[in-house]
Protein backbone atom coordinates (compact mmCIF):
# COMPACT_ATOMS: atom_id res chain seq x y z
CA UNK A 1 0.00 0.00 0.00
CA UNK A 2 2.86 2.36 0.82
CA UNK A 3 4.18 2.04 -2.72
CA UNK A 4 0.80 2.83 -4.25
CA UNK A 5 0.09 5.77 -1.97
CA UNK A 6 3.30 7.50 -3.04
CA UNK A 7 1.68 7.59 -6.48
CA UNK A 8 -1.03 9.91 -5.19
CA UNK A 9 0.93 13.22 -5.24
CA UNK A 10 2.16 12.45 -8.76
CA UNK A 11 -1.34 11.62 -9.98
CA UNK A 12 -2.79 14.69 -8.32
CA UNK A 13 -0.07 16.85 -9.88
CA UNK A 14 -0.72 15.43 -13.34
CA UNK A 15 -4.47 15.92 -12.94
CA UNK A 16 -3.96 19.52 -11.73
CA UNK A 17 -1.76 20.40 -14.70
CA UNK A 18 -4.16 18.73 -17.13
CA UNK A 19 -7.18 20.50 -15.67
CA UNK A 20 -5.37 23.83 -15.69
CA UNK A 21 -4.55 23.37 -19.36
CA UNK A 22 -7.98 22.06 -20.37
CA UNK A 23 -9.79 25.45 -20.68
CA UNK A 24 -7.14 26.61 -23.19
CA UNK A 25 -7.48 23.45 -25.24
CA UNK A 26 -11.26 23.65 -25.16
CA UNK A 27 -11.09 27.32 -26.08
CA UNK A 28 -8.91 26.49 -29.07
CA UNK A 29 -11.46 23.97 -30.35
CA UNK A 30 -13.96 25.28 -32.91
CA UNK A 31 -17.53 26.17 -31.96
CA UNK A 32 -20.13 23.56 -32.72
CA UNK A 33 -22.28 25.14 -35.46
CA UNK A 34 -25.77 24.80 -33.97
CA UNK A 35 -25.21 24.76 -30.20
CA UNK A 36 -22.41 27.31 -29.89
CA UNK A 37 -20.85 27.99 -26.51
CA UNK A 38 -23.01 25.62 -24.46
CA UNK A 39 -21.69 22.61 -26.37
CA UNK A 40 -18.39 23.06 -24.51
CA UNK A 41 -19.89 21.68 -21.30
CA UNK A 42 -19.66 18.35 -23.12
CA UNK A 43 -15.87 18.30 -22.53
CA UNK A 44 -16.48 17.93 -18.78
CA UNK A 45 -19.88 16.24 -18.85
CA UNK A 46 -18.97 13.13 -20.85
CA UNK A 47 -15.65 12.41 -19.06
CA UNK A 48 -17.46 12.65 -15.68
CA UNK A 49 -20.05 10.17 -16.92
CA UNK A 50 -17.24 7.85 -18.00
CA UNK A 51 -15.67 8.09 -14.53
CA UNK A 52 -19.05 7.40 -12.98
CA UNK A 53 -19.45 4.15 -14.92
CA UNK A 54 -15.81 3.13 -14.33
CA UNK A 55 -16.32 3.67 -10.62
CA UNK A 56 -19.55 1.66 -10.57
CA UNK A 57 -17.67 -1.30 -12.00
CA UNK A 58 -14.75 -0.82 -9.61
CA UNK A 59 -17.24 -0.90 -6.73
CA UNK A 60 -18.95 -4.01 -8.11
CA UNK A 61 -15.72 -5.93 -8.61
CA UNK A 62 -14.37 -4.88 -5.20
CA UNK A 63 -17.66 -6.02 -3.65
CA UNK A 64 -17.40 -9.44 -5.31
CA UNK A 65 -13.83 -9.72 -4.00
CA UNK A 66 -14.97 -8.78 -0.52
CA UNK A 67 -17.77 -11.37 -0.54
CA UNK A 68 -15.34 -14.09 -1.61
CA UNK A 69 -12.16 -13.19 0.29
CA UNK A 70 -13.25 -10.79 3.05
CA UNK A 71 -10.13 -8.66 2.70
CA UNK A 72 -10.50 -5.24 4.37
CA UNK A 73 -8.76 -3.62 1.40
CA UNK A 74 -11.46 -4.68 -1.05
CA UNK A 75 -14.16 -3.32 1.25
CA UNK A 76 -12.33 0.00 1.53
CA UNK A 77 -12.04 0.11 -2.27
CA UNK A 78 -15.74 -0.62 -2.73
CA UNK A 79 -16.68 2.16 -0.30
CA UNK A 80 -14.31 4.67 -1.93
CA UNK A 81 -15.58 3.77 -5.42
CA UNK A 82 -19.23 4.07 -4.35
CA UNK A 83 -18.61 7.53 -2.89
CA UNK A 84 -16.90 8.59 -6.12
CA UNK A 85 -19.84 7.27 -8.20
CA UNK A 86 -22.05 9.63 -6.23
CA UNK A 87 -19.63 12.58 -6.53
CA UNK A 88 -19.01 12.26 -10.27
CA UNK A 89 -22.65 11.33 -10.83
CA UNK A 90 -23.58 14.63 -9.23
CA UNK A 91 -21.31 16.45 -11.70
CA UNK A 92 -23.04 14.57 -14.55
CA UNK A 93 -26.52 15.30 -13.22
CA UNK A 94 -25.73 19.01 -12.75
CA UNK A 95 -23.89 19.70 -16.02
CA UNK A 96 -26.43 17.70 -18.06
CA UNK A 97 -29.50 19.83 -17.24
CA UNK A 98 -27.48 23.05 -17.75
CA UNK A 99 -26.78 21.91 -21.29
CA UNK A 100 -30.30 20.55 -21.79
CA UNK A 101 -31.88 23.89 -20.79
CA UNK A 102 -30.06 25.53 -23.66
CA UNK A 103 -30.21 22.75 -26.26
CA UNK A 104 -33.61 21.21 -25.60
CA UNK A 105 -35.34 24.11 -23.82
CA UNK A 106 -36.09 22.12 -20.65
CA UNK A 107 -33.97 21.19 -17.64
CA UNK A 108 -34.87 17.55 -17.63
CA UNK A 109 -36.44 15.08 -20.02
CA UNK A 110 -37.16 11.43 -19.30
CA UNK A 111 -34.65 10.31 -21.86
CA UNK A 112 -32.82 6.98 -21.77
CA UNK A 113 -29.34 8.18 -20.78
CA UNK A 114 -30.60 10.71 -18.26
CA UNK A 115 -32.88 8.22 -16.60
CA UNK A 116 -30.34 5.42 -16.47
CA UNK A 117 -27.64 7.73 -15.08
CA UNK A 118 -30.14 8.90 -12.47
CA UNK A 119 -31.12 5.33 -11.52
CA UNK A 120 -27.48 4.27 -11.28
CA UNK A 121 -26.76 7.29 -9.10
CA UNK A 122 -29.70 6.40 -6.84
CA UNK A 123 -28.44 2.82 -6.42
CA UNK A 124 -25.11 4.09 -5.15
CA UNK A 125 -26.72 6.71 -2.91
CA UNK A 126 -28.73 3.84 -1.39
CA UNK A 127 -25.43 1.95 -0.95
CA UNK A 128 -24.03 4.88 1.05
CA UNK A 129 -27.25 5.23 3.06
CA UNK A 130 -26.98 1.55 3.94
CA UNK A 131 -23.39 1.95 5.12
CA UNK A 132 -24.24 5.06 7.08
CA UNK A 133 -27.37 3.87 8.87
CA UNK A 134 -27.40 0.06 9.00
CA UNK A 135 -24.98 -0.16 11.93
CA UNK A 136 -22.54 -2.99 12.60
CA UNK A 137 -21.96 -5.50 9.82
CA UNK A 138 -23.17 -3.12 7.14
CA UNK A 139 -20.04 -3.67 5.01
CA UNK A 140 -21.17 -7.20 4.18
CA UNK A 141 -24.67 -6.06 3.27
CA UNK A 142 -23.23 -3.19 1.25
CA UNK A 143 -21.09 -5.67 -0.71
CA UNK A 144 -24.28 -7.46 -1.77
CA UNK A 145 -25.78 -4.15 -2.90
CA UNK A 146 -22.57 -3.33 -4.79
CA UNK A 147 -22.76 -6.63 -6.68
CA UNK A 148 -26.44 -6.12 -7.49
CA UNK A 149 -25.80 -2.53 -8.50
CA UNK A 150 -23.12 -3.55 -10.99
CA UNK A 151 -25.23 -6.40 -12.39
CA UNK A 152 -28.07 -3.96 -12.80
CA UNK A 153 -26.22 -1.54 -15.11
CA UNK A 154 -26.99 -3.41 -18.38
CA UNK A 155 -30.61 -3.99 -17.36
CA UNK A 156 -31.17 -0.36 -16.47
CA UNK A 157 -29.50 0.70 -19.69
CA UNK A 158 -31.45 -1.69 -21.89
CA UNK A 159 -34.87 -1.18 -20.33
CA UNK A 160 -34.63 2.58 -20.26
CA UNK A 161 -33.24 2.62 -23.79
CA UNK A 162 -36.22 0.72 -25.17
CA UNK A 163 -38.52 2.94 -23.16
CA UNK A 164 -37.24 6.17 -24.77
CA UNK A 165 -34.26 7.89 -26.33
CA UNK A 166 -33.49 11.45 -27.48
CA UNK A 167 -30.03 11.99 -25.95
CA UNK A 168 -27.18 12.41 -28.48
CA UNK A 169 -25.96 8.86 -28.97
CA UNK A 170 -22.49 7.66 -28.08
CA UNK A 171 -21.74 7.56 -31.79
CA UNK A 172 -21.20 11.32 -31.50
CA UNK A 173 -17.71 10.73 -30.13
CA UNK A 174 -16.17 8.93 -33.14
CA UNK A 175 -17.80 11.54 -35.39
CA UNK A 176 -16.04 14.43 -33.63
CA UNK A 177 -13.80 16.50 -35.86
CA UNK A 178 -10.10 16.23 -34.88
CA UNK A 179 -9.98 19.74 -33.39
CA UNK A 180 -12.66 18.71 -30.92
CA UNK A 181 -11.28 15.26 -30.33
CA UNK A 182 -8.00 16.48 -28.82
CA UNK A 183 -9.53 18.50 -25.96
CA UNK A 184 -12.15 15.80 -25.45
CA UNK A 185 -9.68 12.99 -24.90
CA UNK A 186 -7.47 15.34 -22.90
CA UNK A 187 -10.38 15.85 -20.49
CA UNK A 188 -11.20 12.14 -20.44
CA UNK A 189 -7.65 11.36 -19.31
CA UNK A 190 -7.61 14.25 -16.83
CA UNK A 191 -10.82 12.99 -15.21
CA UNK A 192 -9.60 9.40 -15.07
CA UNK A 193 -6.28 10.43 -13.49
CA UNK A 194 -8.11 12.56 -10.94
CA UNK A 195 -10.44 9.64 -10.26
CA UNK A 196 -7.55 7.25 -9.64
CA UNK A 197 -5.88 9.73 -7.27
CA UNK A 198 -9.09 10.33 -5.31
CA UNK A 199 -9.78 6.60 -5.14
CA UNK A 200 -6.32 5.86 -3.74
CA UNK A 201 -6.54 8.69 -1.18
CA UNK A 202 -9.97 7.55 -0.03
CA UNK A 203 -8.91 3.90 0.22
CA UNK A 204 -5.88 4.92 2.28
CA UNK A 205 -8.06 7.02 4.57
CA UNK A 206 -10.49 4.15 5.07
CA UNK A 207 -7.66 1.73 5.84
CA UNK A 208 -6.13 4.14 8.34
CA UNK A 209 -9.51 4.50 9.98
CA UNK A 210 -9.83 0.72 10.29
CA UNK A 211 -6.30 0.43 11.72
CA UNK A 212 -7.05 3.17 14.23
CA UNK A 213 -10.27 1.44 15.25
CA UNK A 214 -8.40 -1.84 15.73
CA UNK A 215 -5.81 -0.08 17.92
CA UNK A 216 -8.54 1.51 20.05
CA UNK A 217 -10.24 -1.86 20.42
CA UNK A 218 -6.95 -3.42 21.50
CA UNK A 219 -6.32 -0.73 24.14
CA UNK A 220 -9.80 -1.17 25.56
CA UNK A 221 -9.44 -4.96 25.84
Amino acid sequence: MQGRSSLVPILLGVAAVMFAASPFLIDAAPYESTMGLIQRIFYYHVPSAMVMFTSAFVCGIASVTYLVKRTPGSDATALAAAELVVVFGLIVLVTGPIWARKAWGVWWVWDAKLTSAFVLWLIFVSYLLLRRFAGAGSELLAAAVGVFGMANVPFVYWSVNVWRSIHPTTTVIPSLIPEMRVPFYWCVIAFQVLYLALLLVRVRLERSRLTLEAIYAEIED
Binding site: S126, A144, N152, V156, W158
Partner: protein, 226 residues
Protein backbone atom coordinates in the same frame (compact mmCIF):
# COMPACT_ATOMS: atom_id res chain seq x y z
CA UNK B 1 -34.17 -34.32 -3.77
CA UNK B 2 -33.29 -33.58 -0.16
CA UNK B 3 -32.64 -29.99 -1.22
CA UNK B 4 -36.13 -29.62 -2.62
CA UNK B 5 -37.75 -31.15 0.43
CA UNK B 6 -35.89 -28.65 2.65
CA UNK B 7 -37.15 -25.82 0.44
CA UNK B 8 -40.67 -27.18 0.73
CA UNK B 9 -40.44 -27.63 4.52
CA UNK B 10 -39.41 -24.00 5.01
CA UNK B 11 -42.01 -22.68 2.59
CA UNK B 12 -44.70 -24.81 4.20
CA UNK B 13 -43.75 -23.52 7.65
CA UNK B 14 -44.39 -19.94 6.49
CA UNK B 15 -47.60 -20.90 4.73
CA UNK B 16 -48.98 -22.74 7.78
CA UNK B 17 -48.22 -19.75 10.02
CA UNK B 18 -49.88 -17.49 7.48
CA UNK B 19 -52.89 -19.78 6.97
CA UNK B 20 -53.53 -19.71 10.72
CA UNK B 21 -53.27 -15.97 11.27
CA UNK B 22 -53.89 -14.62 7.73
CA UNK B 23 -52.28 -11.45 9.09
CA UNK B 24 -50.07 -10.79 6.08
CA UNK B 25 -52.62 -11.74 3.43
CA UNK B 26 -55.32 -9.48 4.87
CA UNK B 27 -53.12 -6.48 5.63
CA UNK B 28 -51.17 -6.67 2.36
CA UNK B 29 -54.33 -7.03 0.29
CA UNK B 30 -55.98 -4.13 2.10
CA UNK B 31 -52.88 -2.03 1.54
CA UNK B 32 -52.78 -2.91 -2.18
CA UNK B 33 -56.42 -1.92 -2.57
CA UNK B 34 -55.85 1.42 -0.82
CA UNK B 35 -52.87 2.10 -3.10
CA UNK B 36 -55.14 1.52 -6.10
CA UNK B 37 -57.68 3.91 -4.60
CA UNK B 38 -55.13 6.64 -3.89
CA UNK B 39 -53.77 6.45 -7.42
CA UNK B 40 -57.22 6.66 -8.95
CA UNK B 41 -57.46 10.24 -7.65
CA UNK B 42 -54.53 11.39 -9.72
CA UNK B 43 -54.95 9.17 -12.78
CA UNK B 44 -58.66 9.50 -13.44
CA UNK B 45 -59.57 12.78 -15.11
CA UNK B 46 -63.28 13.54 -15.55
CA UNK B 47 -64.24 9.95 -15.02
CA UNK B 48 -61.82 8.53 -17.57
CA UNK B 49 -58.51 6.86 -16.67
CA UNK B 50 -55.38 8.24 -18.35
CA UNK B 51 -53.68 6.09 -20.97
CA UNK B 52 -51.60 3.31 -19.37
CA UNK B 53 -52.84 4.24 -15.89
CA UNK B 54 -54.08 0.72 -15.15
CA UNK B 55 -50.71 -0.86 -15.98
CA UNK B 56 -48.87 1.68 -13.81
CA UNK B 57 -51.23 1.26 -10.88
CA UNK B 58 -50.96 -2.54 -10.95
CA UNK B 59 -47.17 -2.44 -10.76
CA UNK B 60 -46.96 0.32 -8.17
CA UNK B 61 -49.40 -1.65 -6.01
CA UNK B 62 -47.29 -4.81 -6.48
CA UNK B 63 -44.09 -3.00 -5.51
CA UNK B 64 -45.60 -1.25 -2.48
CA UNK B 65 -47.54 -4.19 -1.10
CA UNK B 66 -44.61 -6.54 -1.85
CA UNK B 67 -42.31 -4.38 0.27
CA UNK B 68 -44.82 -4.51 3.10
CA UNK B 69 -45.11 -8.30 2.86
CA UNK B 70 -41.31 -8.74 2.75
CA UNK B 71 -40.78 -6.53 5.78
CA UNK B 72 -43.46 -8.30 7.82
CA UNK B 73 -42.35 -11.84 6.86
CA UNK B 74 -38.86 -11.21 8.18
CA UNK B 75 -40.02 -9.15 11.14
CA UNK B 76 -41.86 -12.28 12.25
CA UNK B 77 -38.64 -14.30 12.03
CA UNK B 78 -36.73 -11.61 13.89
CA UNK B 79 -39.13 -11.23 16.80
CA UNK B 80 -38.99 -14.90 17.67
CA UNK B 81 -35.31 -15.15 16.62
CA UNK B 82 -36.32 -18.04 14.40
CA UNK B 83 -34.19 -17.03 11.41
CA UNK B 84 -31.11 -17.73 13.52
CA UNK B 85 -32.52 -21.17 14.32
CA UNK B 86 -33.21 -21.71 10.65
CA UNK B 87 -29.64 -20.79 9.75
CA UNK B 88 -28.22 -22.99 12.53
CA UNK B 89 -30.19 -25.99 11.26
CA UNK B 90 -28.33 -28.32 8.88
CA UNK B 91 -30.28 -26.88 5.92
CA UNK B 92 -28.21 -25.50 3.07
CA UNK B 93 -28.22 -21.72 2.76
CA UNK B 94 -29.66 -21.67 -0.80
CA UNK B 95 -32.49 -23.95 0.37
CA UNK B 96 -33.34 -21.54 3.21
CA UNK B 97 -33.36 -18.68 0.72
CA UNK B 98 -35.57 -20.52 -1.78
CA UNK B 99 -37.97 -21.59 0.97
CA UNK B 100 -38.42 -18.02 2.16
CA UNK B 101 -38.71 -16.84 -1.44
CA UNK B 102 -41.44 -19.39 -2.18
CA UNK B 103 -43.46 -18.21 0.82
CA UNK B 104 -43.20 -14.54 -0.14
CA UNK B 105 -43.92 -15.29 -3.80
CA UNK B 106 -47.05 -17.26 -3.02
CA UNK B 107 -48.34 -14.51 -0.76
CA UNK B 108 -47.75 -11.86 -3.42
CA UNK B 109 -49.51 -14.01 -6.05
CA UNK B 110 -52.55 -14.40 -3.80
CA UNK B 111 -52.69 -10.63 -3.33
CA UNK B 112 -52.34 -10.06 -7.09
CA UNK B 113 -55.12 -12.56 -7.81
CA UNK B 114 -57.48 -10.18 -6.04
CA UNK B 115 -55.89 -6.85 -6.87
CA UNK B 116 -55.42 -7.23 -10.65
CA UNK B 117 -59.06 -8.13 -11.42
CA UNK B 118 -60.08 -5.22 -9.21
CA UNK B 119 -57.95 -2.82 -11.26
CA UNK B 120 -59.39 -4.37 -14.42
CA UNK B 121 -62.88 -3.72 -13.11
CA UNK B 122 -62.27 -0.16 -11.90
CA UNK B 123 -60.21 1.03 -14.87
CA UNK B 124 -61.81 -0.98 -17.70
CA UNK B 125 -58.53 -2.77 -18.41
CA UNK B 126 -58.96 -5.59 -20.98
CA UNK B 127 -57.60 -8.43 -18.83
CA UNK B 128 -58.99 -11.06 -21.18
CA UNK B 129 -57.15 -9.84 -24.26
CA UNK B 130 -53.98 -11.87 -23.74
CA UNK B 131 -54.55 -13.57 -20.38
CA UNK B 132 -51.60 -15.98 -20.53
CA UNK B 133 -49.13 -13.34 -21.54
CA UNK B 134 -50.44 -11.02 -18.82
CA UNK B 135 -50.10 -13.79 -16.25
CA UNK B 136 -46.58 -14.56 -17.44
CA UNK B 137 -45.62 -10.87 -17.09
CA UNK B 138 -47.08 -10.71 -13.58
CA UNK B 139 -45.44 -13.96 -12.55
CA UNK B 140 -41.95 -13.17 -13.85
CA UNK B 141 -42.11 -9.60 -12.56
CA UNK B 142 -43.23 -10.74 -9.12
CA UNK B 143 -40.58 -13.45 -9.05
CA UNK B 144 -37.81 -10.95 -9.80
CA UNK B 145 -39.10 -8.48 -7.23
CA UNK B 146 -39.45 -11.18 -4.57
CA UNK B 147 -36.03 -12.68 -5.42
CA UNK B 148 -34.18 -9.40 -4.83
CA UNK B 149 -36.51 -8.44 -1.98
CA UNK B 150 -36.11 -11.70 -0.06
CA UNK B 151 -32.33 -11.38 -0.13
CA UNK B 152 -32.36 -7.74 0.97
CA UNK B 153 -35.02 -8.24 3.66
CA UNK B 154 -33.11 -11.24 5.02
CA UNK B 155 -29.77 -9.47 5.17
CA UNK B 156 -31.31 -6.35 6.75
CA UNK B 157 -32.82 -8.40 9.58
CA UNK B 158 -30.17 -7.34 12.07
CA UNK B 159 -29.55 -3.87 10.63
CA UNK B 160 -30.67 -0.60 12.17
CA UNK B 161 -33.46 1.31 10.40
CA UNK B 162 -34.28 -1.80 8.33
CA UNK B 163 -37.87 -0.66 7.68
CA UNK B 164 -36.61 2.38 5.80
CA UNK B 165 -33.61 0.73 4.21
CA UNK B 166 -35.58 -2.07 2.53
CA UNK B 167 -37.47 0.19 0.08
CA UNK B 168 -34.44 2.49 -0.21
CA UNK B 169 -32.35 -0.43 -1.51
CA UNK B 170 -35.07 -2.35 -3.30
CA UNK B 171 -36.70 0.30 -5.52
CA UNK B 172 -33.65 1.58 -7.44
CA UNK B 173 -32.44 -1.99 -8.07
CA UNK B 174 -35.84 -3.12 -9.34
CA UNK B 175 -36.33 -0.15 -11.69
CA UNK B 176 -35.69 -2.25 -14.85
CA UNK B 177 -38.23 -4.78 -13.64
CA UNK B 178 -40.89 -2.13 -13.00
CA UNK B 179 -40.26 -0.53 -16.40
CA UNK B 180 -40.58 -3.92 -18.11
CA UNK B 181 -43.70 -4.81 -16.13
CA UNK B 182 -45.45 -1.49 -16.74
CA UNK B 183 -44.52 -1.24 -20.42
CA UNK B 184 -45.33 -4.90 -21.10
CA UNK B 185 -48.71 -4.67 -19.38
CA UNK B 186 -49.45 -1.32 -21.03
CA UNK B 187 -48.76 -2.74 -24.49
CA UNK B 188 -51.35 -5.46 -23.83
CA UNK B 189 -53.91 -2.96 -22.45
CA UNK B 190 -53.36 -0.31 -25.15
CA UNK B 191 -56.15 0.60 -27.57
CA UNK B 192 -53.94 -0.86 -30.29
CA UNK B 193 -52.33 -3.80 -28.48
CA UNK B 194 -48.71 -4.55 -29.27
CA UNK B 195 -48.27 -8.20 -28.31
CA UNK B 196 -44.80 -8.45 -29.83
CA UNK B 197 -43.73 -5.59 -27.57
CA UNK B 198 -45.17 -7.38 -24.56
CA UNK B 199 -43.22 -10.47 -25.58
CA UNK B 200 -39.95 -8.50 -25.72
CA UNK B 201 -40.53 -7.13 -22.21
CA UNK B 202 -41.38 -10.62 -21.01
CA UNK B 203 -38.06 -11.94 -22.33
CA UNK B 204 -36.26 -9.16 -20.48
CA UNK B 205 -38.05 -10.11 -17.26
CA UNK B 206 -37.07 -13.77 -17.70
CA UNK B 207 -33.47 -12.71 -18.21
CA UNK B 208 -33.57 -10.39 -15.19
CA UNK B 209 -35.01 -13.20 -13.03
CA UNK B 210 -32.34 -15.66 -14.18
CA UNK B 211 -29.45 -13.27 -13.43
CA UNK B 212 -30.71 -11.94 -10.12
CA UNK B 213 -31.95 -15.27 -8.79
CA UNK B 214 -28.54 -16.80 -9.48
CA UNK B 215 -26.78 -13.84 -7.86
CA UNK B 216 -29.08 -13.93 -4.83
CA UNK B 217 -28.51 -17.67 -4.36
CA UNK B 218 -24.77 -17.05 -4.41
CA UNK B 219 -24.78 -13.93 -2.21
CA UNK B 220 -27.21 -15.29 0.42
CA UNK B 221 -24.59 -17.71 1.82
CA UNK B 222 -21.77 -15.23 2.54
CA UNK B 223 -24.13 -12.45 3.66
CA UNK B 224 -26.01 -14.63 6.15
CA UNK B 225 -22.89 -16.31 7.51
CA UNK B 226 -22.72 -14.60 10.91
Amino acid sequence: MKFLSTVWTIARKDLVIEARSRELAYTTLFFAVSVVLVFSFSFVVEGVALTDAAAGIIWVAIAFSGTLALGRTFERERQADTLKALLLSPAERPAVYLGKLAGVLLLMIVVEAFMVPLVGLLFQAPLGRAPWRLMALLLTGTLGFAAVGTLFAAMLIRAHSRDVLLPVLLYPITVPLVIAGVRGTASIFAAEPNLAGAQAWLSMLVFFDAVFLTLALWVFGPVMSE
